[in-house]
Amino acid sequence: MAPLLSVRDLVTVFESKTRPVQAVDSVSFEIREGEVFGLVGESGCGKSATCRSILRLFAGAPARITGGTIEFAGRDLTCLSEAEMTRVRGREIAMVFQDPMTSLNPTMRVGDQIAEGLIRHESIGRRAARLEAIELLKQVGVPSAEQRLDSWPHEFSGGMRQRVLIAIALACRPKLLIADEPTTALDVTIQDQILKLILRLREQYGMSVLLVTHDLGVVAQTCDRVATMYAGRIVETAETPSLFARPLHPYTIALLNSLPGGKKRSEPLQPIGGAPPNLADPPPGCRFHPRCSIAVEACRSTAPALLPVDAPHRVACLRRGAEPS
């Protein structure tokens, strides 16, 4: 069966005063129906830019998709006009953003913000949309939904606002939900609730989820498959159990080592040395080589391709299979 979303060789460039920044560099991955796919990496590695490219929403930043295809349910989204994209956004693909405190319109009642997408896409009246909005608020676990419908965003806590944002995203029963760091800005206890909510709704609605996170703990808890991004490129992709059992890319290994409880042995946590590269001027060859403990001379000049190790597990590393020193 064809995957729901298939991203091929995506390149996204951000214009800047000095020189253009290639935030997404030949990224390919696919998401199957009903699957939770994780995109993991440090901040600034291009994971947000990747999922913003899918919906072509760049928060007013001067960004352009310059190459590749984004095939969704049989259509290439990169070929759609802006008007056609508005029929995809919200209806077929929805998105939840990182910061619930700033992602709701402060001057609009939450009920209206939820109903807005429904009225636009489903051609239903205000009253019907309002009833639907109450139903959605119940679904995402907002207590006394009828009363809360007419509240203002500032009357909600951060966790409750994220629930509202999820309700907005789910309003038109999209086939794919993109969640860009949906729990980063929340308290740890709330984080867990929101992740469980997303998983439950995935079951209920039968949708796929693209979950962007910097937290491998979140990945382990939620994702079916996962891709690791570094400096604009995917360096490793696998089914989640396989990635945790046998990480192959030195960057993935380093990420796992910096995770509390991620290591079975009781060794101290190891932070990753060095800093991520400047994407306006990335290092040649493998972009991780300056921070890599097992890099060899060839890593400085040859960019490794993403090659399969065993069928679904693929890695972009010249030293794959080599024991870390």
């Binding site: 919906l55 007013g60 508005t86 995809v88 929805a94 319109n105 402060p106 609009m108 309003a171």
Partner: protein, 313 residues
């Protein structure tokens, strides 16, 4: 109900400021060098005549006693007697108030009609030729003397294209709107010069806000995003710019009324200065200050209506 309580509370809080305003208006005519009585009679008057007039106007009484008389006149609602019209000041002022109120409201509406589309256009087409053109036009508008523009419009519409009347107040609602169009437009242009600038930069800032991406992600087309989400949030800062300049806008009506011969309080102020009708000047000064306070109260309510995070308390 909350609005009503807020308005009442604010009106009560205004009382000390209003007392301060009456003191300033009172002192204005008494502490400054120059004697109203001798100015009124002119250089040819004899000392006896001046003294008699001083007594008639109560100017020979001690200052505190004069102030009490002034307060008493305000308390009984007359605000004193007009020297030239021999009627209570309040009556004279009240019959001249409607044209000015209509002019202020009318020009504000026109300013909004000018501001919203032009600021949106300039913000959306940021740094394009149209943005620069709008900016250039309103830098000129800001430096343009309103009375001069008024004189030119009178030339243009009085002689070349007689579509709009160039003076008077007209009859009935439509008559007022028709007669007041040119003066209201002149004031609106000056106001819009300020508000377009502020709304433009505020729209540009709001368009990069996170919640705007939420709105776009719902599948709203850009013009719906602008109308439903950007505009309202951008208006918040523009309303505060407008409220800071309220007093300037109200003051501007004085000159415009004189140019277009409108029977409003501004025109009355200028006439009363020339006829040296000091009780009227004094009453008008208090009226204008009260008007500024009232309008700033209205802007506060508007502010709260646009931004739900502001509580009226």
């Amino acid at each position: 109900m909350i609005v009503l309580r807020f308005v009442l509370l604010r009106l009560i809080q205004m009382i000390p400021a209003l007392i301060g305003i009456t003191i300033v208006a009172f002192l204005l005519l008494r502490v400054l060098p120059g004697d109203p009585a001798s100015l009124l009679i002119g250089a040819r008057g004899s000392t006896e005549e001046v003294e008699a007039l001083r007594h008639q106007l109560g100017l020979d009484a001690p200052l505190w006693q004069q102030y009490l008389t002034f307060l008493g006149d305000m308390a009984n609602g007359s605000f004193g007697q007009s020297i030239t019209q021999r009627r209570p000041v309040a009556t004279v002022v009240l019959e001249r108030l409607p044209p000015t109120l209509v002019l202020i409201a009318y020009s504000t509406v026109l300013a909004i009609i000018l501001t919203v589309p032009l600021a949106m256009l300039a913000a959306v087409r940021r740094n394009s030729w149209i943005d620069f053109a709008i900016k250039a036009v309103f830098v000129v508008a800001m430096s343009m003397p309103p009375f001069w523009l008024g004189v030119l419009l009178i030339l243009l519409f009085g002689l070349k294209f007689p579509i709009f009347p160039v003076s008077g107040y007209g009859e009935g609602v439509f008559g007022h709107l028709w007669h007041l169009f040119l003066p209201a437009f002149v004031i609106a242009l000056g106001t819009a010069a300020l508000t377009i600038r502020s709304l433009r930069s505020s729209i540009i800032a709001v368009r990069t806000a996170d919640f705007i991406d939420t709105a776009r992600a719902k599948g709203l087309p850009e013009n719906a995003v602008l109308r439903r989400h950007v505009l309202r949030n951008s208006l918040i800062s523009t309303i505060s710019v407008l409220s800071v300049h309220t007093s300037w806008i109200i003051g501007g009506t004085v000159v415009i009324e004189a140019v277009f011969a409108l029977p409003g309080v501004g025109d009355l102020l200028v006439t009363s200065i020339f006829t040296r009708d000091y009780p009227v000047v004094q009453g008008l000064t208090v009226t204008f200050a009260a008007l500024v306070m009232l309008i700033s109260l209205i802007t506060d309510v508007a502010y709260a209506a646009v931004d739900p995070r502001i509580r009226l308390e």
